[in-house]
């Protein structure tokens, strides 16, 4: 039981690490793209192509660069998480009502202040929705990290499959599924809580 807990924790940490790195790069990139919109299309298209590559193929390809182990997994989680994060930051910021920006400008706000005090707070629920998709996907992909020598709950599932040990498979699969479902639920609640009251009616389409 302790082992299951330890592996679950490791699983979550690896997933969060990949997504956190993607957020650190992706949110500024999304903000940057709203200023240079002509760049948005090609960059987004490129990230979209990355997303299309099957996860096992991506892990295997990255393994040739980064070797066996956690690093390769985190790098591929980073790449997969970029798209939802960049796209949602970009669309979230662009979706901010222009009259609000005008009001900010009228109050003498600088560009920086407009972004930090007006655009990002209003776009936060949308950005969070992107993070949510990214994290759930990352938890899923992390299960196959075991194939390239990374840790996490995939270890139990894979070993169970290989030894035809059903209970070991389930010991990995059940916590992995729970981890994904619970994370998704918690972030969904957070997303709801963050939506400004005036915007509650509009639904945010995450996928």
């Amino acid at each position: 039981m302790n082992r299951v807990l330890a592996l679950s924790w490791q699983h979550l940490s690896l997933s969060v690490m990949g997504v956190a790195l993607a957020a650190a790069g992706g949110i500024p990139l999304g903000i940057f793209l709203t200023r240079y919109r002509w760049l948005a299309k090609p960059i987004m298209a490129f990230i979209e192509v990355l997303q299309t590559i099957p996860s096992l193929a991506m892990l295997a390809l990255l393994m040739m660069l980064f070797g066996l182990g956690d690093t390769t997994l985190v790098v591929s989680l980073f790449l997969y998480s970029l798209l939802p994060i960049v796209r949602n930051t970009y669309t979230g910021l662009l979706g901010v009502d222009t009259s609000l920006l005008e009001a900010g400008k009228g109050m003498g706000m600088t560009r920086r202040q407009l972004i930090c005090r007006v655009q990002v707070p209003i776009a936060l629920p949308v950005i969070l929705a992107g993070l949510r998709v990214a994290l759930v996907t990352a938890i899923g992909i992390a299960t196959i990290g075991v194939l390239i020598g990374a840790g996490g709950l995939g270890t139990l599932i894979w070993r169970g499959i290989q030894t035809r040990n059903n209970s070991m498979v389930l010991m990995g699969a059940v916590p992995a599924a729970l981890l994904a479902i619970v994370t998704d639920g918690v972030l969904a609640l957070l997303e709801q809580a963050l939506i400004p009251r005036g915007l509650k009616k509009k639904t945010v389409n995450a996928l």
Partner: protein, 213 residues
Amino acid sequence: MRLVLSWRDFLAAKGSSILAATAEHLLLSLGAVLLGTIIAVPLGILLARHQRVAAVVLGISSTIQTIPSLAFFGFVLPFLGIGVVPAMTVLFLYSILPILRNTYTGIREVNPAYLEAGIGMGMNQRQLLTWIQFPLAFPVIMSGIRVSTVYIISWATLSALIGAGGLGDPILAGIHTYDAKLILAGALPAAMLALLASWLLGAIERMVTPRGL
């Protein structure tokens, strides 16, 4: 380090088995998506009429979608064993959500004015569906099928883990023996297949989108 084959020798030795794996992969993915489409499109249309049931069904299917890929294969293993059948089952279940959700939203989002016009022309429910709702929702449904197909092609690489073949086979063998050629021979066709399918279905999606939309 080890005897390194040239690409030409490699392809001579493995080319046909890579081709066979690609065909297997395609068959597995297409089968699952086709099955998913056959079930999910009518179900989505049905759900569009019963909103309360829709919330429940969409909730359940999005929970299924949340389950990690390898875990899902793990779940069916005790019941269905290994091979093509359990792999198809998992891929099929996974393909349902995007198609179902898009069919549902596509049908529901048809401008009510068009429906009014149809009703005014004396159309019955069935005619409204076949002549107005379905054609207008078709691009949205197609984009659901597209998302689903790309996911399924990706997941199908994993079905090699439970003995269903496909391009996951060379990738896994390559990982185990640390053989870059073998990895590439599986990973490249798998990536190409996904990109190609996405592009092809995207083109169809644009083609069927009515000019006004």
